[in-house]
């Protein structure tokens, strides 16, 4: 269970980007979060993934309130979330080959022995060939890089997936392949999903339910 209650979050001293948003995801549930550009849905996704500390409000993960974000969150909590961002170019370290990019979380958590089997498995499920795996980010296309980023998000077998506009920059066939890879993973593991986007048709077909950004804040404000 992942519950975001009355979240207000922003950057620095300016007005908060997210005001009083409330959202709950049942275990294994997939929720699409639909909103226009710039409304703050990415910020809410970062709060949910424990990457951005909200100014106020509570996040509850499996009944326990979250007290720390980023480095202050325990490693097991942080890695319970797999995150895929909108722009693969910016979310890939330009110096790492795709193999290292995908294996990095395993190295960071001291699970090197799992690298070889996990790589083979994930490369097949996201559709990356061994030739592509040896390239660096600037030598592959956006779609191929986003496949690697999805593999990286899945490599630690997270219980929750946060996909922030994962397919916004991609063509239809890559979108279909990535959504299929996410759904295969969820079928196999029962992981929950928060898919953020502005494409209603995609989110309606992909997720168990779709919520509109306006309804989150209205529910929060109504209390």
């Amino acid at each position: 269970m992942l519950e975001l209650h009355d979240i207000t979050a922003g950057y620095g001293s300016g007005a908060p980007v997210v005001r009083n948003a409330t959202l709950a995801l049942a275990p294994g549930e997939s929720v699409g979060l639909l909103g226009p550009s710039g409304c703050g849905k990415s910020t809410l996704a970062r709060v949910a993934a424990l990457l951005h500390r909200p100014d106020s409000g509570t996040v509850t993960l499996d009944g326990e309130p979250v007290r720390g974000w980023r480095y202050r969150a325990s490693r097991s909590r942080r890695t319970a979330f797999g995150v895929v961002f909108q722009q693969p170019r910016l979310s890939a370290d330009p110096r790492l080959r795709l193999t290292d990019l995908i294996a990095e979380p395993l190295r960071a958590t001291g699970r090197r022995h799992e690298i070889a089997p996990r790589l083979t498995e994930l490369a097949a499920s996201v559709g990356l060939t061994p030739d592509l795996l040896n390239r660096r980010p600037h030598e592959v296309s956006d779609g191929q890089l986003q496949r690697a980023c999805l593999a990286r998000a899945l490599v630690l077998r997270p219980r929750w997936l946060i996909c922030d506009e994962m397919t916004a920059m991609l063509d239809a066939s890559t979108t279909a392949a990535l959504v299929a890879a996410v759904e295969d993973y969820r079928t196999a593991t029962g992981a929950g999903l928060l898919a953020v986007g502005h494409d209603q048709v995609l989110l309606d077909r992909w997720c168990d339910r779709t919520v509109r950004w306006a309804s989150l804040t209205a529910a929060g404000a109504g209390k």
Binding site: R46, A49, L50, L51, R70, Y71, R75, R78, T79, F81, G82, V83, F85, Q87, R89, L90, S91, A92, D93, P94, R95, E104, P105, A108, T109, H138, C149, R152, A153, V155, L156
Partner: protein, 268 residues
Amino acid sequence: MRISLALVGVTALAVLLVPPLVRLDQQAVDLGAKLLSPSWSHPFGTDDLGRDLLLRCVYGLRVSLLVGVAAALAATVIGTAVGATAGALGGWADRALMRVVDTVSSVPHLLLGIFIVAVFRPGVWPVVVSVALTHWLSTARIVRAEVLSLRSRPYIDAAVSGGASRWRVAVRHLLPGVLPQAALAAVLMVPHAMWHESALSFLGLGLPTHMASLGNLIQSARGSLLAGQWWPTLFPGLFIIVPTLAIAGLAGAWRERINPRRRSELML
């Protein structure tokens, strides 16, 4: 760019090859041949103790380059460490470190350098220490700014989400990202450090006077300049100016290549 490359090449060859190949004693005093004007046997003339100035200049450049490179490297290491720490930790650690940087920069750096060399016996290392301790500030600022810009990239978020510790993020993702800038800062620092070595030696605070360094050569030539003997001042002066400008030119060309606009056109 080509001219700079050629000049740096010639300089490097001269300081590396001349001392082992030419078996002449640069310290050999020949009072019978003092202050000879440039001629075929002494292309740069001789100084007030009859020592060959071309040979002295090459040895002097060797010392100045050694001091310049060592000081620039040390300054870059200090600056990168401070800047990366400040940028990566943020918060009060960042504010504290940057106030230290501001404090040190508020003191004129030549004055601070003079103070530091004055604490030690004259020698090569005090000069290196003095130049290094007064020149890490700009590198620290550059590296901090670069780390701050890298820190907010989504790939750092991805690393945090992947369970990376603060240390791992700094070493694996942030530091490699700032190394090109830091290396460029180091190269740009070499000429500056050489000028400082010369300035300190010229003031009589740097290297011991028997040691041929470009600053020492100009310092000891001051007397003869007033007497109309221009060569003991001119040639060491050119030996400071030409190689340092060549190095600065190369660094400038390199900076053009790695500047963010060009880089983004190539990679993004």
